[in-house]
Amino acid sequence: MSQLLLDVNELTMRFGGLLAVNSVNLSVKHRQIVSIIGPNGAGKTTVFNCLSGFYIPTDGSVMFNGQQLAGLKDFQISRKGLVRTFQHVRLFSKMTVIENMLVAQHRHLNTNLFAGMFKTPAYRRLEKEAMDRAVYWLEEVNLLQHANRAAGNLAYGQQRKLEIARCMSTQPQLLLLDEPAAGLNPNETKELDQLIVRLRDEHEISILLIEHDMGLVMGISDHIYVIAQGTPLAEGSPDEVKQNPDVIKAYLGES
């Protein structure tokens, strides 16, 4: 498959006078883990917001699976198979873990009111499929034993994993993870590391990752983009990026 899964050209986002994202180019191939790194306030989350339809970019084009995303609403983009997580966990906290998983599959279910009232065979089949998928992904992230607990009562690391499982149950092709390792302990980070690799290798999806944990990023990325103050600074394989003098300067200059 030579075609690019995600192809972003000259993406620009302005907030009044602030140029938050400045002509960023990105591309993600099938079955790739691509990372975006950069100091705080560099505009990484803003890039995600533009890709997922939460912001309308000032300029530039986003192609997903050979299709323009401009003009699509956030929920339509997610239905095309581009799903994101958030820098701050956003779960349906009062609902149970399993309910969180089922809500995510809303569009795969039979939402016809009459089908639901009369529990038609088609409705039941889809409910069962959704339940099976939910159970499958909860098992993958080791949360099955908590299925009937309120999501808000899980430990922080579990909430992070649930968010990823919830995204996966929508059957995406590209998963956007915004700082998934933030706040995790070393063990949990290692688990996350393995999970992301497994998503690529076994489930054959692509991942676009924003992360500050350099060990994680350098270990699993196929390609890395560095942005600083909204502007592309460097890109390449982990080794290339590590040795890039501009990157070293930006990172040392910051800290």
């Binding site: 997922s52 939460f54 956030d74 929920f75 339509q76 997610s78 239905r79 799903v83 994101r84 958030f86 956003r90 779960l91 349906f92 906290s93 009062k94 609902m95 149970t96 399993i98 309910e99 969180n100 089922l102 809500v103 995510a104 809303h106 569009r107 279910l109 039979n110 939402t111 009111l113 639901g116 009232m117 069962k128 339940m131 099976d132 159970v135 099955l144 299925a147 009937n148 309120a150 919830r166 995204c167 929508t170």
Partner: protein
């Protein structure tokens, strides 16, 4: 201590001012002029005692709090039987409850049955608003508008076109749903306070429209002589109107006006059971889960491919249709409706039912509806201070059980 002294003085002052205005003076007409009367000495004593009580309770609030925390609270959870036994006896309990509801009216007074019917109407309204406020988290202060739409649908269709109650029930629900849809559109982007204000305005608009469209709705005079429901064409009146038969003639029994009251009550029971069943199913369907998800986190919903427009509109529409249902029945029961029945206070009472009950919880809403309709009836002598008691109840609830009478319990899903 300084802080609580300040608090106590402040609270006592407020109490004094409010009590003077609400209890201490009274307006009366003397010929054509209004005069202000002061209250008698005994009432002033009561007011001063109340102010003193507020002062002391605020002054020693921390000590009181410590005392009250020492009072052991009964753990209601342990009263409920084990999950397995509960499952086994639940159908029996429900059956007993339904039979009880059906038999009970034949053993009590007319007034009691009538009150029960009113309670059932509020249960329906509470359950409907629970969809919008409790589940979808959209604060709707104009819910009474849909109730009015339902009531006027039946009243007008019956008056001008001779439609029967049973035919009007679905029509009223549909029409109210349509109004819910219309209101839903402009408020899609609004949240919280803004949404509350717009829905409040909508409720008033409908009421003012009904008040001023005199040629059709009869304006403030309302519509009277609305047909009562019939049982398969049998009327519940002393004498049959042309071409029909009455219930007591058909069965060859003595006429009594109580039959009609009981019949209306039974219809209400039927409607409430239908509404409970339907909403219960909805809550377990994808749409019900989506409502709650929207309440919990709208942004996460959007990121997962849920169309919030459809979800919000469906909540508004289905909530409104329940009110339409209740309104249609209300018109039939009263036989007379006017815009007076659909003022803002009604919306506030229905909202209070939902909040008191425990947002989202059906059993809670039912209990709260009973409390809110039966209590004022029991405390008839105090009817002047109904709003005062209402406020007190709210304050007590917020202190004692901020999550409502029966907080919503999450369903336990079998994973298979």
């Amino acid at each position: 201590m300084r802080g609580s002294l300040y608090n106590a003085v402040f609270a006592a002052g407020i109490t004094l001012v409010l009590a003077c205005l609400m209890l201490g003076v009274r307006l009366g007409a003397e010929g054509t002029t209004l005069t202000v009367y002061g209250a008698g000495a005994d009432r002033w004593e009561w007011i001063l005692a109340g102010v003193g009580l507020v002062f002391l309770s605020q002054l020693f609030s921390t000590q009181l709090g410590r005392l009250s925390s020492r009072i052991p609270r009964p753990d209601l959870g342990t009263l409920k039987p084990q999950e397995a036994t509960w499952k086994a006896i639940k159908p029996w309990l429900l059956a007993a409850l339904v039979v009880g509801l059906l038999v009970w009216p034949f053993m009590v007074s007319r007034g009691a049955v009538d009150l029960a019917t009113l309670t059932l109407i509020y249960i329906m309204l509470g359950l409907g608003l629970n969809i919008v406020v409790g589940l979808a988290g959209l604060l709707d202060l104009g819910y009474v508008a849909f109730y009015a739409v339902g009531a006027y649908t039946y009243a007008l269709l019956s008056e001008y076109f001779g439609f029967s109650f049973w035919a009007c029930l679905p029509i009223a629900a549909l029409l109210a749903a349509a109004f819910g849809f219309i209101l839903g559109f402009p408020v899609l982007r609004l949240r919280g306070d803004y949404l509350a204000i717009v829905t409040l305005g909508f409720g008033e608009m409908i009421r003012i429209l009904l008040n001023n469209w005199t040629s059709i709705t009869g304006g403030p005079n309302g519509i009277s002589g609305i047909e009562k429901p019939t049982l398969f064409g049998l009327e519940f009146s002393r004498r049959a109107s042309e071409g029909t038969q009455t219930f007591h003639e058909f069965f060859g029994i003595e006429y009594s006006s109580g039959q009609k009251v009981i019949f209306l009550y039974l219809i209400a029971v039927l409607l409430v059971i239908v509404v409970i069943y339907l909403i219960n199913r909805l809550m377990r369907m994808p749409i019900g889960r989506a409502w709650e998800a929207l309440r919990e986190d709208e942004i996460a919903c959007r990121s997962l491919g849920l169309n919030r427009t459809v979800i919000k509109l469906s909540a508004f529409t289905l909530g409104a249709s329940t009110a339409g249902f209740a309104g249609c029945f209300f018109a039939a029961r009263q036989g007379f409706i006017s815009p007076e029945s659909f003022i803002f206070i009604e919306s506030a009472i229905i909202l209070a039912i939902v909040v008191l009950g425990g947002m989202g919880s059906q059993i809670g809403v039912i209990l709260a509806a009973i409390v809110m309709t039966v209590l004022p009836e029991l405390a008839r002598e105090f009817s002047d201070y109904r709003m005062l008691m209402f406020g007190l109840l709210m304050v007590v609830m917020m202190r004692w059980r901020p999550e409502g009478l029966v907080p919503m319990k999450r369903p336990h899903l079998e994973l298979k």
